[in-house]
């Protein structure tokens, strides 16, 4: 727990910064950069296999768009 607590504190702190820094409004013509391909919120489709690999070759899962069950074809 001690090892993870520090990292969790960092995550919570950064999350608070994130929430505190929300834009209040953006006009449509101000949103062009947000439409750039790498600005997409989710993982790229080509990244899906890597997420599956990481779910099954690491002991951790969740909070990154990866799967949590359903078999893996990886034994």
């Amino acid at each position: 727990m001690k090892r993870g607590a520090g990292a969790l504190a960092v995550v919570v702190f950064l999350a608070a910064l994130t929430m505190g820094g929300c834009a209040s409004s953006l006009e449509p013509w101000e949103r062009g950069d947000l439409a750039a391909t790498p600005m997409a919120v989710g993982d790229a489709e080509s990244q899906r296999p890597e997420r599956s690999i990481e779910v099954y070759r690491e002991g951790a899962v969740g909070a990154n768009g990866g799967k949590s069950g359903g078999g893996c074809g990886c034994t």
Binding site: G4, L8, T18, T37, P38, G59
Partner: protein, 427 residues
């Protein structure tokens, strides 16, 4: 994504559906939140992405042979992703795939039934610190091939300020079958700037109990419930932030029945008794993730991700992913990006090397994925627009090549290709 429906009835339907979905845990039908995607299908027309992945791993701590055999394994995995905007407010998504696996599991199970450690010990060419277990190698490493097939389907209904998705899926492999149901509700907190998603998935899995002698002795259930909450916010005209919290509960048969553990030497077993892995029948897993997409300057975008994880098997982990995308000065849009990931985890209380456990212990495993290790992933990706092809529109190609290095000797390489096409409509 479909255009919003501007009506009071739409709002009422949205609220009702959201309530039904949120109350639907008993029916086991919700999907974990999926952040809005800029997939090829987020527009008009049927969009199809052809995805192919090749994966090659190796190591010398296979749990199939008690933590001291080869982990050599390759997977070829083609997948087809379909995004079909059926109407203004409805969208269907399908994912169909098949994995072909040369399996360390089936290759090295003790199918000759000679479980006695006096007669056999499964360790390949390992000649390091496990010498006492290396003398009698009874396994074959002829390449057997396993396969896994799966189908996932999602239906999404968009409303004025929200959307509801229902999900179902099925997968089957040689010793495992799974049916999943789920749903998600996304609410647009502030038009186009902030959204909140809650989702739930439930997996009903059946495990064929192939034991360490290779003989099947019945079946058992494994259930996984996955609840996720996520919040996405536009921070500025060049930055988007994401936070996701996930709680997962697993119950049922969580061991892998053909994973071996070698007990400490004893009088009747001077080389150590070989038994099947034994793990608790429940596991609660919690994680918090944070992400940022930040355009540093026009044509340079960084994508850091941080994830904290903990479970009640006493495994803690932290992961940091980082990609920085550079737009290249080409006529067609082209992005190139290095990829980096650092993952560190503590081992569970139940992990041990050969000889660490004995009959006095309740739970034990030699699965190195549950051990303490640090992992580095590094690689390279490229994404570019393709020229038009007669009759179809091949929109873009993305390639990702990565290597994984773990400090316990495990290493892997993976390469993925994704080609997006559109069969009608489009820009």
């Amino acid at each position: 994504m479909a255009a919003p429906e501007h009506s009071a009835s739409g709002r009422r339907a949205s609220s009702l559906l959201a309530a039904l979905v949120l109350a639907g845990a008993g029916a086991g039908a919700q999907q974990a939140p999926q952040a809005p995607r800029e997939a090829a299908g987020d527009g008009d027309g049927l969009a199809v992405t052809f995805l192919f992945n090749y994966y090659d791993q190796d190591g010398d701590r296979s749990p199939v042979t008690g933590g001291i055999g080869t982990e050599d394994l390759q997977v070829a995995a083609p997948t087809v992703l379909i995004n079909w905007p059926v109407s203004e407010n409805w969208r269907l998504n399908f994912e169909v795939g098949a994995d072909s696996i040369t399996s360390a599991s089936t290759n090295n199970m003790d199918v000759d039934g000679l479980q006695s450690p006096v007669l056999r010990r499964a360790a390949d060419d390992d000649d390091d610190d496990d010498d006492e277990y290396d003398e009698l190698d009874g396994t074959s490493s002829a390449s057997l091939v396993d396969a896994r097939g799966y189908l996932n389907a999602t239906a999404t209904r968009s409303f004025e300020r929200s959307s509801v998705s229902l999900f179902t899926g099925f997968s089957a492999e040689w010793d495992y079958r799974s049916v999943a149901f789920g749903g998600a509700w996304t609410y647009d907190v502030e038009e186009g700037l902030r959204s909140f998603t809650v989702g739930l998935r439930h997996f009903f899995d059946i495990v064929d109990l192939y034991e360490i002698d290779g003989v099947q002795r019945g079946q058992s259930d494994r259930d996984t419930t996955d609840l996720s909450l996520s919040f996405t916010s536009v921070l500025s005209r060049r930055a988007v932030g994401m936070v996701e919290v996930s709680a997962i509960e697993q119950s049922g048969f969580l061991s892998t029945p053909f994973h071996e553990v070698v007990f400490a030497p004893s009088v009747p077993f001077p080389r150590g008794e070989v038994v099947a892995e034994r793990l608790p029948d429940s596991r609660r897993r919690y994680s918090v993730g944070l992400g940022l997409n930040h355009m540093i300057s026009r044509g340079v975008v960084q994508r850091p991700r941080l994830r904290w994880y903990e479970d009640d098997w006493n495994l803690e982990a932290q992961s940091f992913d980082y990609e920085i995308h550079f737009r290249l000065p080409t006529e067609r849009e082209m992005w190139a990006f290095p990829i980096f990931r650092y993952h560190t985890q503590s081992g569970t209380d139940y992990y041990g090397r050969p000889g660490d456990f004995s009959r006095i212990h309740d739970f034990y495993t030699a699965d190195p994925d549950l051990s303490e290790f640090d992992l580095l992933k590094y690689g390279f990706g490229i994404r570019f627009q393709l020229p038009s092809v007669v009759g179809k529109r091949f929109e873009d190609l993305e390639v990702r090549l990565n290597r994984y290095d773990r400090d316990d000797g495990f290493e892997a390489v993976t390469i993925s290709f994704a080609v997006g096409t559109r069969f009608w409509g489009g820009q």
